[in-house]
Every structure is written in C-alpha cells, then in structure tokens.
Point group: D2
Chain length 277, copies 4
C-alpha cells in the first residue's frame, strides 16, 4: 500500500510513526520532528510525525488536554512545511474532520472508538490514510468487521494497529499472535510500542507506564513481522504533559531503531514460515 511518500507492507522495511503524545508547543514540535527526521533519514526509515492537539479521553478531567484544534493544526502544518515530513494526528467523534484532513497526511482513530460505526466511516470517507487502533476489548479477528466498515467508504488506505488488550485490571498485555492474525485483514499492521506498556488508570488520576518494556515489545513485534511501528517519544519524558511514564526518550531512539532495523531485515529476508504450513 502506498502511504504518504513511500510503500508500506511486509515486503518493505518498517516505517515509523513517532512524536510527542501531545503538542506541547510549536518549538518543541519542530525540534522533535527535526531530530526524528534527521535520525530516520540517516537510517533509511520512512517516517511520519505524530502529535495530538487534544487528548479527549484522559483518565481525569484535570489533566492537560492540549492546545486545541486550531493551534494544533497550525503547528502540524508548520512541521509539515518546515521539516518536510508527513504528519498524523488522532481524531475524535466531535472533531471537525474536514479541517483536520485538509492538513494532515494520516488520521488515526482511538482504540476506545474502534466499534463506533459512524465515526470509523466518517473518518475513512475523507479519503486519506487511516490508522485504526484495535480496541483494548477486542479480539484480533474482530478487526475484520472494522476494516470492512472503513473500506466500504471506498478508502482502501486503511492500517490496523495493536496497542494491547485488557488483562485483568489496570494492565494490558500485547498478544503477539494478534499481529499475525491482523495481517489477514490485508491491511498494513502497525504495532504501538508505547501505549502497549501503559497501565491504564494505574496511578489513580492518570495512567502509569513501564517504559523499560518499550524496547522489549518493539523487538518482539518486529520479529513477528509488521509493516510499521508507532512510538511516542519526548525529549524529557519525565516532564511530558501526557503519557510521560510510557514515552521513549528521544535521545535513545536512534539506538533502539538501529536494533529494530537489524531484526526487521532478518525477519523479512524470507517468507513468514507460518504462512507456508
């Protein structure tokens, strides 16, 4: 599948969707996007910048939600123009989708909303690529129905994304089988390595996270065989205004990506044996 300015798929090196969870300021967005572009260009990784203008489903209503739609889109536009990278943002049921679709290259739908038929179809109907996060409450084979809803709009540029499944209370588990199962949808499969280590609601008024497991799960997913990797990163995760505990530190991302490239190459050097049984 053609995605932004590159080809996405299992016969291609993985692409990266990365950036700070929420847009904190213009300067920080530009700086982070710039650093990420430099690193990924050097490594030959197709890159899409990700950041949110509004965190619509924070645990507590008192948490920082973002700079809002207008400012957010202006900053994403600037990132796109000045840094020269495609941009992705997540949208919600009350987002004016046309305004967002006019700016970004990819729209992303939140895991909690993955069963909302109207919403999925409204987003898909704008004709730009959509990254659909699998609900924490869903089996991987249930994504078939979600993809059918999206593709019924005529948009064939649909990606599916694993971000962990409910495992008891305040915990998620990443079932690596789900990446293989979701390949059956025919859509590029993306693994979200940072939300997968969230501990939802685990700190009372906000979600906790286990940053140390980001590289563990990213390596595992890469070895299963995926089209793309999603990862939130921050120059100073301990000061992040959202999802700090599970963000990956920007200054350690090059090192991590280098390792992931070598796994990706190894895995994609032959057909997946499970598809030839």
């Amino acid at each position: 599948m053609k995605l932004c300015n590159f080809e996405a798929g299992l016969n291609q090196p993985f692409f990266l969707i990365a950036g700070p969870c929420v847009i904190e300021s213009e300067q920080m967005s530009l700086d982070t996007a710039g650093t990420l572009k430099e690193i990924t260009s050097a490594l030959g990784i197709p890159f899409i910048f990700k950041s949110s203008f509004d965190k619509a489903n924070r645990s507590s209503m008192n948490s920082f939600r973002g700079l809002g739609l207008e400012t957010g889109l202006q900053i994403l536009e600037k990132v796109k123009q000045q840094i020269g990278v495609p941009v992705l943002t997540d949208v919600h049921e009350d987002t004016p989708l046309a305004e967002v679709a006019a700016v970004v290259d990819v729209m992303q739908t939140p895991a909690f909303l993955c069963r909302q038929t109207n919403f999925i179809q409204s987003v898909a109907s704008h004709g730009i690529p959509v990254n659909i996060k699998k609900g924490q409450f869903m089996a991987p084979w249930d994504m078939d129905n979600v993809v059918s809803k999206a593709k019924a709009t005529g948009n064939q540029q649909i990606m599916v994304c694993e971000r962990g499944v409910s495992f008891g209370y305040n915990n998620l588990v990443s079932d690596m089988r789900s990446l293989a199962v979701m390949r059956e949808t025919g859509c590029p499969v993306v693994f979200d390595a940072t939300h997968s280590v969230q501990l939802p609601g685990g700190q009372g008024n906000c979600s906790g996270g286990q940053r140390e497991h980001v590289p563990v799960l990213a390596r595992a997913a890469m070895a299963v065989g995926i089209a793309g990797l999603f990862m939130e990163t921050h120059p100073k995760p301990e000061e992040a205004l959202s999802d700090g505990p599970n963000s990956w530190p920007l200054h350690r991302i090059k090192e991590l990506l280098e390792m992931l490239i070598s796994i990706d190459k190894a895995v994609k050097s032959a057909p997946f044996i499970e598809t030839t049984l």
Copy 2:
C-alpha cells in the same frame, strides 16, 4: 437519589430498567412497555422503559441499526404518554442530545464511550439523570474519575452501571466485587444482566450470548446489593433484530422478578456487613 418518579438507592427496593434492545416498531414498543408496566406495578417495582433508536456500534455494518432518531423519539414519546412510564435511551457522540433530552427521562452512555470526557460531560450537562455504563476495559475504581467528570457539570443524578469486563477474547466476566466497589462513588449502582452475558464478536459478524446465565447473574448481583437492575427483554428473543441471544423472554420476566424481589428484600433487611468491618 430522586430518579424519575421514585427514590433510588440501597435503602429502597430495586428499580428496573427494561425493554427491547432496539425499537423495532411502534406497536411492539407499546405492547412490551404495557406488559412490563402491568407486571412491575403489580410487583411494586419502579420501572423505566428502555429502547434504542440506533445501535451505533454493531459488530458488522450490515446489522440492523434501528428506525433512526426521529421515528425513535416519536415512539418513545408515545410510550411515555400512552403507557405512562418514564423512558430511557442510549445516546452516542453524534446524537443531538437536546432533542433526546427533551423527550426521555434518562439518558444512557455506552460502555465503549465511558472514557470520552467531552461526551460524558455533554450528556450530563442536560440536567436529566444519566446511567453511565462502565467500560469493558475499566477497573471499577476507575469509575470515580468518570463520575467526577459527569458531576462537574452540576448534574448530581448520575448512575453507574456494570455490564461485564473483558476476560480473554470474545468473553466477559461479571466481577461481583465491582458492584460493591462502585457503591463508593456515592451513585446508585445498576447491574446490566443481559449485556453481561454477551459473547462480544462471538459469532463472527455479531455478538453471541448466553441467555441461561441472565437469571444467574441477576440473582448474584441482587444479593450483592444494588440500586437498580437493567435487562433487555423481547416477546420473541429468537426473532429480535438485535441482541436476541442475550435477551430475556418477556413471558418469563415476572417469575424472574419475583425471585429477585425476595433476594433484594433479604439483602436490604440489614446493613451490608462489609461496610461495618
């Protein structure tokens, strides 16, 4: 808490929210509401009629979604006037809330949407009672934050509702501890005995259900101590246009309610011992 025309709470007999999952026709809605009113009046159970005008999150886009907002509200209005019972319906992120709030007595928010801050607050801000279903992906103690969001609008008539929590794939489990935990929110706790027996996505293109466990879980919840019971019922569940496998047959509801009344009476005859340790 005052709810419609009665008092709701642990020092009151349980109230019942019941009706067909989706509004299938005017006649069927009037008939079912009439039958339910007759039964509940005779048994002294405060009753709210429930039916949906749109099933916005069906597994498959090809399933029946309902008669739509306009027709749906007309029918609910008629049920209210002709049968003389309060009515409840569930709303979604793209529902014109003011139109709905002008007709119904209680609005209900879907489990999947329970973390959407704007949505919860928009619904609550209409000032009529709201029944908030707990997400299948949430711990019961995490409902505190949801209730805070809702009550921050000034609306104090908030109920919380358990409908099962994700337990592996395509299955839910009803954790009876959650009913006791959610009492701590100070809100009336409702148990949804029919969605709790759903097997989400369990039939490929739609959700399965285990009707035989409806009375099992309803009795258990009643014995824990709840303010209200939610139950979808249908004159002919095998012909229901939505959620048939987990609907309770209308002609068996009197029998079930009689049993539940006797448990409710027993349990509420003394303080809950767990609150006096």
Copy 3:
C-alpha cells in the same frame, strides 16, 4: 448426596465448611470448632470443620507451614471426638493418604493440583467424600473431565469447588456463571468465599486478600444456588499464621450466616429458572 451426617444438594439448605486456614494449636482448633458448632447448630446449618496440617504451596519457603501431619491429625481427631463435628483437611501429592483418610471425614484437593490424574484418583480411591477445588487456570466445563477421573475410582461422593479464576496478574475473579456450569457435573457445588478474595502473590512474599469482599461474594454465590459454602475464619485474623488478609473474623460469622440463610431460602424456594428455559 449423603455427606457426613447430612444430605447435601440443591434441594437442601447449604452446608458450611469452615475453620482456620492452618492448625495453629490444639486449643485454638478446639475453641474455634466449638464456637462454630454452637453457631451452626443454633442456625440449623450442617457443619464440617476445616483446617490444614501443612500448607504445601506457600508463596515463600519462609512462611509458616503448619504443625505437620502427625500433630495435625491428632488435633483433628480430638476436634472430631471432643466437639463432635466432622472434619476436613486438604491433602497433597506426598501426603500419606491412608493415614489422613483414617481420621478425617472429607479430603480436599488443592486447586493447583486439580489436573494431576494420579493424585485425584489416589485421593478419590480412599472412598471418603472429596472436595475438588477447581484450578485457577481452568474453565468450569473442564471440571467434567476431572470429575470423571475421580468417579472412575468408584467413589461417587465428589464435590466441586470454585475458588476464583486467574484474572490478569495477582488477582482472581469469581465468575458466578461457573457455579451454574459446574452444577452440570451432577456433583454438589461448593463456593470458597475466602480464597476467592485472595490476591495471589500480591504482597511479594505472600498473598494479599480483600476480606471486605468475602460477604459480597458469599451472598452472590448463595443467590446463584450452591450446595455448600467454604470459608476460612479466625478468632483474630490479623494474627493468623496463614491467609490472615482473606480470613473472615470468627465473631462476625453468625451475622453473615444469618444473611446467607435468608438468601439461600429465597433462592431454593423455586426451581432455578435457568434450568427451565
């Protein structure tokens, strides 16, 4: 089914298996058994005294395991003679079963061992009643195979016991559906209300517990309809040498049992509606 000196079954009032988790001393065992006998006699509840001589599967090897087989059996014998109540103890794969079976009235197999074919059959082959705890890793329908193994020895006095199922890490959930499902084995179903509130391994070197949920789950199980209730109790739970956090205080047991009797009576006053669908 005839059990000790009474009839057990869904057409009978529930029986109680209760006592301190582990035998701490002769005096304490006699005192507790005496108190329990007095309470249950007054309430008309058939009673079996439970206590362990060895806790073979403590989280940590440094925890108290008990007074050992010889002393343990002597004390159980004394309880039986002096207090005049039937006694139950749990056995393990290296327990000399004949010695135990010569003293106790009922043997109980631990949840962790419920898939060990030789063990289940060895225990059952002694011909006295056996209470088989369902593994935390098992579906309720999988108990059919376990019961078949036990009954193949010729022993028909087999009970099955729910004590919670793994739900994420360090947590259990009590699926009330399982009580109804296990009734299909034809064996009396017992609910273990105190181990069900354990948090396995939840305190690092030992298991935690949520005592406040004991009455919550006990009431729920009673309302589903069970043959017997299992409950560990201690005169001073905070000083218990094993499983203190989930033990029920002895001085509050009468109150709890009274409530459970009224639920049991209500529920067993008519056929379970789920069996007549």
Copy 4:
C-alpha cells in the same frame, strides 16, 4: 551458567530443548533425536533432547499417557548413548526422582506444580540442572520466590521457563514482558514456544493448539532476548499421541531455527537497551 556440555546465558547463542512431547517408541525417539542432532550441530545450536515417559496431567483420563517410567528411562538412556546428546524429561510429584536423575541431564517441573514447595525442593536437591516452568496462574515476578526455594537446596543450576499465562477460558497469552522480568531472577530464561500456543481443554477431552503461531511466538521471544528455546516437534504431528495440534513438524524445524539464529544474533549483538535506562 554451565548447562550440560555448554554455556547458557544471554551472552551466548540460544540453546534448544526439543523432541516429541511423549516417548512413543524407541525407534521414533532415536530417529527424532538423530535428526535434531544433525540439524543443530550443523547450525551450531547447543541441543538437549526432550521427551516424557508419562503425561501425568492429561485433560482426560482416557488419553495416552506414555510408556511408563522404566521403558521411558531405558529409551532416554539409549538416546543419550547412541545419539550422544544430553536428555531432559519432566517429573511429577510421584516420580522416583533419584532413578530419573541417574539417567537424564536435566529435569523439568510442570507448570501446574510450580507452587509445590516440597516438590520443587526435592527435584532441585538432586543437583542436576532443573528447568522450572512458570505456572499459567503466576505473575513473572512471582518466580523469584520459586527460584529461592529451588536454590535453597544448594543447586544453582536453575532455569525458568515461560509457557503462557491464563487469558480467559481455554486460552493462554504469552506476555513477552515476562521474559524480561524473569531475567531478573539471574537464571537462564527459556521460552516454550509450543505449549504457549495450546488452547487448554479447548477440544473438550483434550487441549487444542495453534501450530501456526509457534514461529510467531518463537521469533518474538528470540527478539526479547532469551537463553534457550523449548519446542516440541514430531515427524508427523497429525499422528502424535499427545499435543499434536501444537507440535512443530520436524521437517520444518531447520528452516525455523535458521531464522531464529539470525534474530538471536542481531539481538545479542548489543546490550539490551532496557537494562541501560
């Protein structure tokens, strides 16, 4: 750690424990061991032959359990002598451990028995290496207590093995985080790629399995970073007398191992980044 005739650890290439689930016949054992030796020698993978003389915890009592202790040990002895490979077998609570330890190079303890203190310590006290499978009901951090029990016998040659954790009914999930967590025990961590794809009890009278996920999970675990891989293999899985559905076909193992080697090399070429945060 020194294991059989090689070094095991994260600074070494992975070792392989493989063989048919149960010893079906002498010839089949010799043939399979021979083939595996040839393949692993050529690939430079340290190899331990695995097979069971008795399946003590089959779902149903009517399933094939094996040729028994005496015959089983004779065959393992022959494999050791004739083929010249170290051998491993699993032991149970009623196994005469000294007899087994006199023949095999490594003993393995079943997941269900991982909390049985006496058993773990009896096995460990024989002084040969032990592979302890983590219970399906345990958190990875809870293996610390199990390892302490084993090492308290003086035996330091202890390995810990992940084989999936309970995830709803009749399903397991492999939490890749657990491999990283268990590295903290200081013991070589082994991933069991074939039992992890079991569907316990999933076929009524026996466990089902998803063979197609064996390579998926094996690759993922290898990318996390493990000391060893465990895999049951069979010349004709569809005719296997035990665990056929999750066995890996012998004639496809070379191909799979080649892929795993390339991942293992990539991952172990640098320190695990998660240990340097």
